[in-house]
Symmetry: C2
Subunit: 329 residues, 2 copies
Amino acid sequence: MLSEFSLIDRFFARRATAPSPRHQDEAATPLGIGDDCALIAPPAGHQLAISTDMLVEGRHFFADVDPNALGHKALAVNLSDLAAMGAAPHAFTLALALPRADEAWLEAFSDGLFALAERYDCALVGGDTTSGPLNICITVFGDVPHGAALRRDAARPGDDIYVSGTLGDARAGLGAIRGEWRVPRGAGWQRALERPEPRVALGLALRGVAHAALDISDGLAGDLMHILKRSGVRAIVDADAVPCSDAVRALPDAARRQCTLAGGDDYELCFTAPAASRDALANIAMRVQVPLTRIGTIESSGAPGIAWRDASGALLSLTLQGFDHFHAD
Amino acid sequence: MLSEFSLIDRFFARRATAPSPRHQDEAATPLGIGDDCALIAPPAGHQLAISTDMLVEGRHFFADVDPNALGHKALAVNLSDLAAMGAAPHAFTLALALPRADEAWLEAFSDGLFALAERYDCALVGGDTTSGPLNICITVFGDVPHGAALRRDAARPGDDIYVSGTLGDARAGLGAIRGEWRVPRGAGWQRALERPEPRVALGLALRGVAHAALDISDGLAGDLMHILKRSGVRAIVDADAVPCSDAVRALPDAARRQCTLAGGDDYELCFTAPAASRDALANIAMRVQVPLTRIGTIESSGAPGIAWRDASGALLSLTLQGFDHFHAD
C-alpha cells in the first residue's frame, strides 16, 4: 500500500515539470509542486484564464472506463474551456479522491493525463490527493492577451453562427451503450466519448476573428442559449445543417436531433462571427485542420431564444433539453 | 428539485462578485462566473499563488457536520495555504459534487463560505457542480510580490523555528469524538475542528521577516519535515515548548504529544526566521494579535531530520506519523 506522499511523488510529482517562465524578470521564477502554493504569472499584457471541472464516476464516466482515456478526458474537458476563451494552455492543478491506491490504475491514468498535458506544454503545478469515492477535479490556467478573450457576451446581430467538427457522436455512443438505438461498430463514437480532442489551436486562431464563443459540453441547444442570454440576442439555426458523422446521420430524425442538438460531451466550439469573416474562417479551418460549419444567424436583439428550421426552411417545433447533472439525461 | 443552473445561480452566482480590478489598464477587466473561464491577472510585479484542496465526507468531515461550518472550513483550509506563502487572497473557484440538491444545506453551506470569503475580499470567480458523493474542491488565488513568497526551501542554519497559536485542539476533539480520551466541554476543540481561522494577516506580516513557512495541516512533525527536506537542513525542537490549549495540556503526555506534534488540521503557521528578527516578530505578534512561540532551531545542513527534546533538554525518542490520507490516523 502506497502512502499518500509516495503515491503523489511516484505518479505525479516526478512527471510534473516546473511551469515555463514567461517573464524576462528573474524574480518571477515560477514554482510548481511541493510548496503550499504554486506561483505563476501571465506574460506582460496578458490575463490568466481559469476554469475548473469535476468528473465523478457514474456521472461523467463508467466505473470500468480505461483509466488512460479517463486521464486524457479529465484534462481535455478543461483545455476545451481554455480553447473556447482563446487562451493558450499553461498549467493545471489536479485534486484526486481515490477509493484505494491502485498502482496499475494510477499508472494508466497518469500516462493518459501527461500525454495530453505534454502535447500542450501544460505543466502540473499543484494538487491534492485523498481517499474517497473516485472524483477528479482539475483547474486549468491559460494565457490570453488583455481584451482578446472570446467571451459569451460578444455576439452581435447579423453574426453567422458556426460549430467545429461534428456533434452528437458522444451522445450516440452513450445511447448505444444504453440500448436506446444501434450505432455501427467502428463509428468513432467511443473515441468521441472517451478521448475528446480540445480545439486549442482553433480557439487561438479565432482571436480577433470570432465575436462570442463557448465549448459545447452540455449540448448545442443549451450551450448556444448561454451566448444568446449573455449577449441579449436571438438566433435562427438550421437544425439539419448541424454537422454530424455518417453514423449519427443514419439515426432516425428524432434520435439524430437529440444527439446533435442536445447531446452533450461534444467539446466542439460554437462561435459567432461577422459575415465579413467568412473567408478568414475558411482559411483558419484549413490551417488548423478542423472543419467549420455555418449553422445559423444571430438575429436582432430581443428575448433570447432559438428558432429552429429544417433544411427546407420550415420552422421546427423541438423540445430539447441541455444536459443537466441534476436531471435524467 | 432545482436544476443545476438554477442551483448555481441561486446559491452561488448571485452572491459571487466580480474580482476587483487591480490594474490601471482598462483592457484587463476581470471576468467572473458565467463564461467558459474566469479572467484574472495579478497586479504588476506580483505573481499569482495557487492552491487546491479537496474535502471528502467521512475523511475530512463527518456527514452530520454543520454545513455552515463546512462552507467556512472548505475555504479556510485554502486561505491557510495562501497565508503560508505570504499571499493576499484574491479569488477562488468552487467545484462541488452533491448527492442531492438540498436547499437548506446549500443555503447554510454558501452562507458559511461567503461569510469567510467576504471577510477576505476573496471573490468566487468560477466553478462546477455535479451530482455525486459529497466532495468539495476549492482552488484559491492570491497575490504575492515577485521574490517575496514564503517558500519551504528557504530555512537556513541558525534560524529559529516558530509556530503560531496553539496546536492539537482539532486532534484532541477528534479523539474525544472517537472516545480515545476525554476533553472537557467548552474547551474550544469544536471550533478548532470546524472553524479554523486562516492566518492570513500573519502570513502577510511575515513577508521579508520569515525565511521558510508552511501551514500545519498534517501535523507539526510531518509538515516541519517538508521544510527540512526542501531546505536540506536538520532541526532541534523542544516538544514541550509546542504551544497548546489548557485542555490539551491536561491530557496524558503521550496523548498530548500525539495531538500537538502529529495532530493535523491545525492550520497554524510554522516558520523559520533568523535570530535577529526576534524583536520584529514580537511586534508582529502584537500587531496581528496571534501568539507566536519559538519551539526550536534549524541546525547545520545535513540529512533532514528532527531531534526532539523535552523541557529539561533530554532527547526524546518519539515515533510520530503525520496525517496520511491512505493510512489510519
